[in-house]
Amino acid sequence: MNRNNEFIKLKQDLEQVPLELEYSATKAIAKAKRKKRASILWKTPMVSFCSMAIIFVLLVNLFPAVALAMSNVPILKNLVSAVAFDPSLKLAVENDYYQIIGESQTKEDVTVNVEYLIFDAGHMSLFFSVDAPVKSGLWKYDLTDSGETPFTAAVFTNNLYKVGELEEVQMDFVETEKIPEKIVFTVTINKDEQFQTQKDTTSEDNATNGTNIPTPSTSLFKSGTDYTFRFVVYPNQKFTQKIKSIPISQWIEIKNQKIYLERLDIFPTHSRLYLKYDDTNSAIINGMDIYFKDKQGNVYVPKKNGVTAIGYENSNDIRCLNFESSFFKDFDQLTMLINGISLTEKDKLYGEIDTEQKTIENMPPGVFIDKMELNDSTLSFTLGAPTDTPDKYSELISSLYYDINGNTYNFNSSITSFRESNVSIFYSEYKINNYQDKKFKIQWIYSLEQTLEDPIIINIK
């Protein structure tokens, strides 16, 4: 018996090596340089983001690909002051649950360093930094799979960078999304020596009005120079295996609405409570005040940063609510406590905006019109609303609007901010470029929370 032919065949098969091998050495060098810094860097973003906490811009229409992905599912809410202040991510990092990417690209004097990835089957946080001869500036990005197709996912980011600090891009995958083997991250950095952040303009102009913030539709990328970089990131697939699923399978009734608690999926970066609803419900659930507690006394509250809930496709209902994760905690028993609920009656879900009369239908209690004006065919209107919790704000309306014929469009931009030191009322400004109509419809996704007289307590594990 001679197996030499088998040997030759096997040796030929082994000639195939993965492309990622190209980056092994550069990644190793980057990892070696950054390993020491990593633990420090991870803890600093909260501080570094505080100064820009009042400016978050939801990039809606700058990238059609992202807008398309967003229009399918996400409900982006409760964007709070610091993107990187995230207990679950912090715990994940403390448990070495992160991937060092360590890739850099330079064009002229602008360098983008894609530094870390935190990834599981439900969420991705990609961190990068910018080196450029300015203090700060604007950036935009696109995330696609290797076939340049946008993900069916909820995406969330701010669009200001500060040189040398970590910026974060988040993406939450929906249940049906296949976990990508590659993520193509295309980022455009605007270098503009004249660029000023709101903090700068506030101090110089003594202006305290949130509308002074540069907006995507007016000033973003209109001056300075753009540098576009394309990175291919390979998430380590071992991270996608990490999930603990606890079935709940229980109907509850709150304020005459029947809600089915399906299961709790615990990922390293977050937990998801999956919900279903009775068709006869009169209202849409905008949110619920729920938290989880284990026997050891650890409390897992709703996610406050980034994506806090994901909607059903082609429906206004929330499919899942996101919570901080108990993945890295050793817990015995998990109890769910429901204290309140936010509802919008289905017949008050949509509101017509009359831009001549400056009126809006079906405004939820507490919401008011702050400003509405048409300048050079750009319509902008600002709505104010009280917060449930100081310093925490929600999205007021869906990122889609409808013309009189029922066609849907994305707003060109939306900006939410607090004014002066009043953290109990927030303002959201929306813009539509080339506005030609007199009326259009919006969808409300905001309502003040109603506290339950008797909290609902359910032992789920």
Binding site: R3, L21, A25, K27, A28, I29, A32
Partner: protein, 155 residues
């Protein structure tokens, strides 16, 4: 980029395919193999000052890789569900596909076959990596070839 970094990358580039092939044949998983190479090149970089003779870079990093692979395999064996543990019955090397037969070899023979015949390390290099006399490597290699029913050149 510093000269030392460039040199390190060049040195690694020269043998990265061999390192990957070794890890892949040893761990039988492309993901694990890539991770093992990544870990090895990282360990090599942070310990590069310990390498007094740069001409031994290849054998030195290969030795690191072997240690990483051994560690990974023992870790993954610990994690293997009990129903997946292989039966410790008599192994008929010639009745198995070659890849599986190599996997069943005692580890000291498996490494030699992997290095010598799938990655073209010389006898001298193999002996240096394993810190064994060349004669011992030659004997083990002969034994492994015989078990596998392979008639390959021994030099």
């Amino acid at each position: 980029m510093k000269l030392q970094e460039e040199k390190f990358i060049t040195e690694f580039d020269n043998i990265k395919q061999q390192l990957y092939r070794f890890a892949y044949l040893y761990l039988k998983s492309d993901t694990s193999a890539l991770e093992a190479v990544d870990e090895s090149v990282y360990l090599a970089y942070i310990n590069i000052k310990k390498l007094r003779h740069p001409e031994y870079f290849k054998t030195w990093i290969t030795r690191i890789l072997i240690n990483v692979c051994k560690k990974e395999l023992s870790r993954s064996k610990r994690m293997m569900p009990i129903e997946n543990l292989p039966e410790q019955s008599h192994v008929g090397f010639d009745s198995l596909p070659l890849k599986d037969a190599i996997d069943k070899l005692p580890v000291e023979l498996k490494i030699i076959i992997n290095l010598r015949y799938f990655n073209d390390y010389t006898l001298v290099e193999t002996a240096e990596i394993l810190k064994l006399p060349q004669g011992t490597v030659a004997t083990r290699q002969r034994k492994a070839l015989s078990l596998l029913k392979l008639e390959l050149e021994e030099d």
